[in-house]
Symmetry: C2
């Protein structure tokens, strides 16, 4: 069915588009996030906190597939902006609990309109909402497969 050349093409046309699409979508957020003075990864952390109120660094990492080497500096920046609190847990001194400050909680309202603005940019005459949903389902399925593969290496 498929020769080696096609496989090479398929692979390169799969991983590279993921890399490119990720960077370009992140760039689409910038004009909306800049007024809030946050970056896209910082926005992802806040999205998680707006949902769960309080999370450990480990919890946040599990959700975003990141570890403390990336998160600790990022969280310190959010703390400097006075959007979050970082408090070491009393029951387990190893874990640091992250929670929203009043300012960070209020930012949720300002950020509320971002997702619909981004989504509207995706839905065009070439890509309606049902196609987008099916694509997302496959993307998430792929993500789970990769997740298993990479976690096996640990």
């Amino acid at each position: 069915m498929s020769n080696s050349c096609e496989q090479l093409q398929l692979n390169n046309q799969l991983c590279f588009p993921l890399y490119a699409a990720s960077r370009l979508t992140t760039k689409m957020y910038t004009p909306h996030l800049k007024p809030l003075d946050i970056t896209y990864p910082q926005y992802l952390v806040l999205l998680a906190l707006w949902q769960y109120k309080q999370m450990s660094v480990k919890d946040i990492g599990a959700r975003l597939f990141l570890e403390s080497n990336t998160l600790t500096p990022l969280l310190k920046r959010l703390e400097q902006k006075e959007l979050i609190h970082r408090v070491r847990s009393k029951t387990d001194e190893r874990t640091v609990m992250v929670s929203l400050s009043t300012k960070g909680d209020k930012l949720k309202e300002q950020a509320a309109e971002i997702p619909e603005k981004i989504l509207s940019a995706f839905t065009t005459e070439d890509f309606d909402e049902s196609e987008l949903i099916s694509f997302r389902n496959n993307l998430v399925k792929l993500l789970h497969i990769i997740q298993d593969k990479t976690s096996n290496n640990k």
Copy 2:
């Protein structure tokens, strides 16, 4: 059909998975690229050069959606590894032409087996090759849409 809440979910479950999948797929390359002493972005540049032999920094940027602020340091590292040559063009002193060294050209053979290894990790019982092709087509279509949106901002 779709209320605001669903839209928020769809959006967050589209952009974030792109971000996560991109990082995890890049991580999948690492064990294969480390023996060659190159990173994934460096590998992408070499893929382009293996195909076109000689490209300007601008050409490479157009292909990878990157600009000189990212490429110049990256290309200098590839030059330090003696994989490429960087020569300022005689006909247009503004452009820098990038070409493969003998060492860089030979690396192509060592890298030849990487794509099939990566691809085999994607094709599982949950995701056969035809599904993967259809997913890739949608991903590329999405990439073009984003590309138009982001280039309009310039």
